[in-house]
């Protein structure tokens, strides 16, 4: 892997490799000494044009646990807010000698441009671009699902996951549809018609406007997406009439929670709008894995940084390569 720009770029085997590597990383995080020397001497730059304390800290922790040097570059108050272009920001990073750039940007495709425009030659990790993709979120969601429903091994074949919420504007939804399907799971999207993109019929998943019907299918996991209140207003696009109507039709409340199979888990990428898309009961119940998703994020991001940076730049991971290499050791 040279970059991680989209969940679509991961094959089944690559995705399983990331999850397996994340499992080993997670094991190290339960020891007393959590730090590993693996990426010593490497520099990881967090380039966050959009505010996100949680994701940035997750990447920062992941890099530091692998002994990489971390430089945080947030847009607020930086030269970017004074109108510096993405290209000039990138050229500055090149001058700083970054091995990897973790980028979050409000424009879809910005990480792709960073990776391919020839401005820098670092590895690029997409930490969320516009409404396009958030691949490490999907990876940590898959890791969480695997841990709870597949005993922490293999892929997600045979699982049914229902994703509910503002699919139109959600990069988490796109990444999850791609990755969960690659790992063999079946995905159903639930949303009001206004929050589904034209062209969703071409996606490898089911679509429903009716949450209760979808939950009656007995999914193994329900993933609730954040809905922004601003999207109700006419300036925000007028996508649904009111918060109350949204909750009534698409919110996960105690009643819907009780309709789920006993083994089903409740997920949310955060931050939550308690009372809008998810009730407090559902968020805090014992099958909610929302808090665990966050801690799994560090292990998954350690795995991604390891796989992108530890080996020589153009190589792909294979265990055959391991044997070859070990014969020289």
């Amino acid at each position: 892997m040279r970059h991680l720009l989209s969940a679509k770029d991961l094959s089944h085997d690559e995705a399983v490799l990331v999850l397996d590597t994340a499992a080993q990383m997670a094991a190290t995080q339960s020891r007393e000494i959590k730090k590993l020397p693996t990426l010593r001497g490497r520099t990881v730059i967090n380039l966050f044009f959009e505010d996100s304390t949680r994701t940035r800290i997750s990447f920062e922790t992941a890099a530091k646990r692998l002994s990489a040097d971390v430089i945080n570059f947030t847009a607020k108050g930086s030269s970017v807010s004074k109108g510096e272009s993405l290209k000039d920001t990138a050229l500055t990073l090149r001058a700083m000698g970054a091995d990897a750039v973790v980028v979050r940007h409000q424009a879809s495709g910005a990480p792709h441009r960073l990776a391919h425009a020839g401005w820098i030659d670092s590895a690029v990790v997409n930490a969320g671009d516009g409404t396009h993709q958030h691949p490490t979120q999907a990876l940590l969601d898959a890791f969480t699902l695997r841990r709870h429903l597949r005993d922490g091994r293999g892929d997600l074949a045979g699982l049914h996951v229902t994703i509910v919420g503002d699919v139109l504007h959600s990069r988490v939804a796109r990444s999850n549809v791609d990755l969960l399907t690659t790992l063999g799971a079946r995905v159903t999207l639930v949303a009001p018609p206004t929050l589904l993109p034209v062209g969703v019929e071409a996606w490898p998943c089911g679509v429903s406007f009716h949450m209760d019907d979808a939950l009656a299918q007995g999914p193994d996991a329900v993933m609730m997406l954040r809905v922004q209140r601003e999207r109700m207003s006419s300036q925000g696009g007028g996508f649904f009439p009111s918060g109350v109507e949204y909750s009534r039709l698409y919110g996960l409340d105690a009643r819907r929670l009780a309709a789920l199979p006993d083994h089903a888990i409740v997920m949310h990428p955060g931050p939550m709008n308690r009372g809008l898309e998810i009730s407090a009961d559902a968020a805090d119940c014992d099958r909610s894995v929302i808090v665990e998703q966050v801690s799994n994020g560090v292990a998954v991001r350690m795995a991604v940084l390891y796989l992108l940076l530890a080996g020589s730049p153009d190589a792909l991971a294979t265990s055959q390569a391991d044997d070859e290499a070990r014969a020289l050791a």
């Binding site: 391919h116 425009a117 993709q133 796109r174 062209g199």
Partner: protein, 454 residues
């Protein structure tokens, strides 16, 4: 006999006699049977077999295998001057036009300041005349400042030295139905035409690319086809109601083609334009997020491309217009959302039309002359000077094309000042060998003829 090489030299020699005569031997006018064509004193002096040059100063060009067309007329060019001379000037843009085989371009009004007064249109007209590469016909804005609220002084612009006949807010849609109605009615007084950029603004707020399967997947806000079709439908009905001409710029969807076809069948006086890029490129190109493919209206699906080709072939679409839209590097060397929309096109238009329509057997060269010269000249009301038949007595506004040539497009080597060409690295057929503006060669052997004004 003097060679083209001698012309280049004598053009710089103030003492050299002005070139007046060209003898094109074995040219194929409109792709037809080879014959000789003599250009003298700015006109076509003779057409026939085995012509002889009138004197030793005449230049003989071996045009065997070359197609002779009337000089191309672009109804839709952005020359960017005044205001964005960092992207293009009238000088550089018209040089590009001449190399593309054009003898006339209509310069759109979205400059800074906007061309909404007689003063600005006269300035652009004068710059074009002084550059001397093609005839520049400024397009006047429909509304003041392109604001869509109040009619600009269309009459003054029509009466000015620039003699504006085409009015357009291109870049913006005249979306207010009352304003559009008034404009359609008002221009009848001076045989003008309103050229509409059809884009319902509320349906396309923040839009980045065609709304469809690709936009849903790559997370870019969509520009739905209906936002164009709804305006086209409204405008043809308005034009029919008030009895005015309407010209629809850059038709880009299958639905728009059908609406225009329906309107023409009803006798509504509407003409439609398609750009070369909409005849070739699709929204799949957006997947790489390279803003060189960002354009307004956006690239659409393969089905739309096919409908546009069929529409051009059957006459539903009347003209090919380049919508040549040069942009400074920093306006394209960035993330998609931050980039400006537009592609350069003057130097590649004829090749793209040949590749998509002639080499596929859907248009003959005579048809190409119609859609790239005669029809645009008629819409622009310059048909007395441009887009003329290749016949004795007509003004010698002509282009010689080698259809068998193949070129790889290199934006760095184009005459246009900007490099935002979507055909970068592509091999395209055909090459302009010579362009004549009123009998004076602006391009010979595929290169601009520097120095001297007609």
């Amino acid at each position: 006999m003097r060679s083209p090489h001698d012309i280049a030299r004598s053009a710089h020699d103030p003492a050299g006699a002005p070139i007046t005569a060209y003898l094109l031997t074995n040219a194929s006018p409109l792709g037809g049977a080879p014959t000789d064509v003599l250009l003298a004193d700015g006109r076509i002096a003779a057409v026939g077999p085995a012509l002889r040059a009138p004197d030793d100063d005449a230049v003989v060009l071996d045009a065997a295998g070359l197609v002779l067309l009337p000089g191309l007329v672009d109804l839709h060019t952005h020359l960017r001057e005044p205001g964005r001379e960092d992207a293009e000037t009238v000088e550089t843009g018209t040089r590009a036009a001449a190399l593309g085989g054009y003898t006339a371009v209509h310069a759109m009004a979205n400059t800074t300041p906007v061309a909404d007064t007689a003063g600005v249109v006269e300035q652009v007209w004068r710059l074009g005349r002084d550059a001397g590469w093609v005839d520049v016909y400024p397009v006047g804005a429909v509304t003041v400042g392109l604001g869509g609220e109040r009619l600009a002084e269309l009459g003054a612009m029509a009466a000015s030295a620039a003699r504006v006949r085409v009015f357009s807010d291109d870049g913006h849609c005249v979306d207010d139905p009352v304003v559009m109605r008034r404009a359609l009615e008002y221009v009848k007084a001076f045989d003008g035409v309103v050229a509409q950029h059809a884009q319902e603004p509320r349906l396309t707020e923040g839009a980045q690319m065609h709304e469809g399967v690709v936009s849903a997947e790559i997370g870019l806000a969509g520009w739905p086809a209906v936002a164009e079709e709804a305006i086209v439908a409204r405008d043809v009905l308005l034009a029919g109601h008030v009895g005015s001409r309407l010209h629809v710029l850059h038709v880009s969807t299958a639905g728009s083609v059908e609406i225009v076809r329906w309107a023409k069948a009803r006798g509504i006086d509407v003409t439609a334009e398609v750009t070369p890029h909409h005849l070739l490129l699709t929204d799949e190109l957006a997947r790489g997020y390279d803003p060189v493919f960002k354009v307004n209206p956006p690239l659409r699906t393969a089905a739309d491309v096919e409908a546009l080709r069929a529409g051009l072939a059957d006459g539903t679409i009347d003209t090919v217009g380049t919508d040549h839209a040069p942009h400074a590097r920093e306006d394209k060397d960035c993330e998609w959302a931050a980039a400006l929309s537009g592609m350069t096109g003057l130097e590649t238009a004829l090749s793209v039309v040949q590749a998509t329509m002639v080499d596929t057997g859907r248009l003959t060269w005579a048809d190409v002359a119609r859609v790239m010269s005669t029809a645009p000249a008629q819409v622009g009301r310059v048909a007395d000077r441009q887009g003329r038949p290749i016949a004795v007595g007509e003004p010698a506004n002509l282009v010689l094309v080698d259809p068998s040539a193949r070129r790889v497009v290199d934006p760095q080597r184009q005459a246009t000042q900007s490099v935002n060409s979507p055909y970068r690295g592509m091999e395209l057929p055909g090459a302009v060998v010579a362009t004549f503006l009123r009998g004076r060669a602006t391009v010979l052997e595929g290169r601009l003829v520097e120095g001297g004004h007609a």
